[in-house]
Amino acid sequence: MTTDVNRRVLPGFSLSLGWTLVYLSLLVLVPTAAGFLKASTLSFDAFWAAVSSERAVAAYRLTVGVSLAAALVNVALGVLVAWVLVRYRFPGKTLLDSLVDFPFALPTAVAGLVYSALFVESGWYGRFLVPLGIEGAYSRLGIVLVLVFVGFPFVVRTLQPVLEGLDRDVEEAAACLGATRLQTAVRVIFPSILPAIVTGFALAFARSLGEYGSVVFVSGNMPFETEIAPVLVVARLEEFAYAEATAIAIVLLAISFVTLLAIDLLQRWSSRRHA
């Protein structure tokens, strides 16, 4: 695959590339570099002490764990919703379709407040669930629930165009060749939507890693139990310990980056295999 930038349809390549670089540098690279610069004022030992305390490690583990759980739930829910929205016609479909983006529009702090109010003992759901021992507020489950809400649009929106682009002829051909419906789903449809699923999963996961506004209202913030890593960052900032706060943030950033990179590599590998 070679791209010849000189043979373009629209003029202005250097201008648009220049703008892209400037924009990305100003808004993404420089702030990130500033973070690294701040953290680099710490000695290695101080950096290590800030990021490797037992409490911080518990917080990373929690953050990664709940984000993973929420992203997995979102894959299951998102595939179903995307399928229904693409393959069926029913009244109210447009409304449902626009509802999918609702978590993007709602301030996440509001989501956190509403979820915790619903799941506490006196809340609409909580009054039935808490007697059964299901604590949906101020617990790890509560964090997963709100992260599912926050990450929900990602899987649906990455999957929808891919499902729309699927060639129905292929499914028909599979049926003609004697494939059962399950075989068609698993061996024909699934492989072609897998990269989109993985992308949606990665986006939802990365989004959850950095989520703060909603989680602090629903988690209860108990150290070692429901305290997410961004809360530690805020706690360190309150002590005016900027460098230590940045150090923890960098660990989170590294986790996100490695995840996104790994997913990207995985996708290349899978698209090569299925090419």
Binding site: R55, S122, V216, G220, F224, A235
Partner: protein
């Protein structure tokens, strides 16, 4: 004739434009913490008319509110506050350390730069079903406590220090105090990050039996809840000291030193002290305080120096990374 009139009118207009207006107008920015919003709205209106009467100048005061520590950081990072009226000493002093406020700022205004004080009180459910009257009642079995995280909230820090001092000021040892706060936080199911979030948890979500709150917030909470909660004054609590200061670097740059200083001095006038009392802050003027004794019952209030050498010492000793507050929580294995 008509054209002469027009000429005269134009001349007058030109003259008016050329001569600077007598009444100057000043704009001040007051950077404060969350619960003081209503207080300063009332104070600002009163100060604007007092300033106009005295100097003939117009003054507008813009307000900025948020978590006290966050606000202090904003000022350090360049928010051009003329005055800061923050919740705790370390926040104001962090601005001094950044070189924006002169050293020795605390003694520039009367009463250690404290026009008002506050404290931590209890808010309980209607009828006080768990019988919570004093600190030992708070940790009785089955009582759940709501108060924000001391690591992130001024209210949270003061609640912790109030509980600690309630033990040591009555003859308990440090070990007793540690045992007491350990019990207290074991019975705290939620650590919200700020005062208002904790209020929502207690009142709207109906979590917990007792809320350790700012005195002024507690009054508002009781009003808002419409009889669902009530206020209990413990016999002893901590003296909260929200200092005020003008920000030297900014007032010099903006030429607002006179107005900023006058604004803060105005807080000590009987008029402002009255407004302060009406907003449930304890006025520093003893006669105004005495007049409002019904709202501010006598309590034994100890300063932070009763539990630490200074605010810096308290911040480090109790809330520093890995220090006393952190040691309460054990990793789950």
């Amino acid at each position: 004739m008509r054209s002469m009139q027009l000429v005269r009118l134009l001349a007058a207009a030109a003259l008016a434009a050329a001569v600077p207006l007598h009444a100057a107008s000043v704009e001040l920015l007051n950077v404060s913490y969350d619960p003081t919003r209503e207080l300063y709205r009332a104070i600002n209106a009163a100060f604007a008319s007092a300033w106009k009467a005295k100097t003939g100048d117009d003054v507008t005061i813009r307000q900025s509110h948020g978590g006290s520590g966050t606000q202090a950081r904003a000022v350090i990072d360049g928010l051009e506050a003329d005055v800061v009226t923050l919740a705790t000493f370390p926040d104001t002093d962090a601005i001094r350390r950044a070189g924006l406020i002169a050293s020795g700022w605390k003694t520039r205004l009367p009463n250690d730069s404290l026009p008002y004080t506050s404290t931590i009180v209890f808010v309980v459910r209607k009828g006080n079903p768990k019988g919570i009257r004093d600190w030992p009642d708070v940790v009785k079995p089955g009582v759940e406590i709501v108060t924000p995280n001391p690591k992130t909230s001024g209210n949270g820090k003061l609640s912790f220090l109030a509980a600690w001092g309630a033990v040591t000021q009555r003859g308990g040892s440090e070990a007793d105090a540690l045992a007491f706060v350990t019990k207290l936080y074991a019975q705290t199911p939620v650590l919200d990050l700020g005062a208002r979030a904790a209020t929502v948890t207690f009142v709207q979500k109906k979590v917990g039996d007792v809320h350790l709150a700012w005195e002024n917030e507690a009054h508002l909470e009781v009003q808002e809840a419409g009889g669902a909660v009530e206020l209990v004054y413990p016999p002893i609590s901590i003296l909260a000291e929200p200092h005020v200061a003008w920000v030297d670097a900014n007032v010099t740059k903006r030429g607002t030193a006179g107005a900023a200083k006058a604004y803060l001095e105005f807080l000590y006038t009987p008029e402002a002290q009255e407004i302060i009392a009406e907003h449930y802050y304890r006025p520093s003027d003893p006669s105004v305080l005495a007049k409002h004794r019904g709202t501010f019952p006598e309590m034994k209030l100890f300063a932070v120096t009763a539990v630490a050498r200074s605010w810096e010492d308290a911040a480090d000793r109790y809330f520093g990374e890995g220090k006393i507050f952190d040691s309460i929580y054990e990793p789950k294995r």
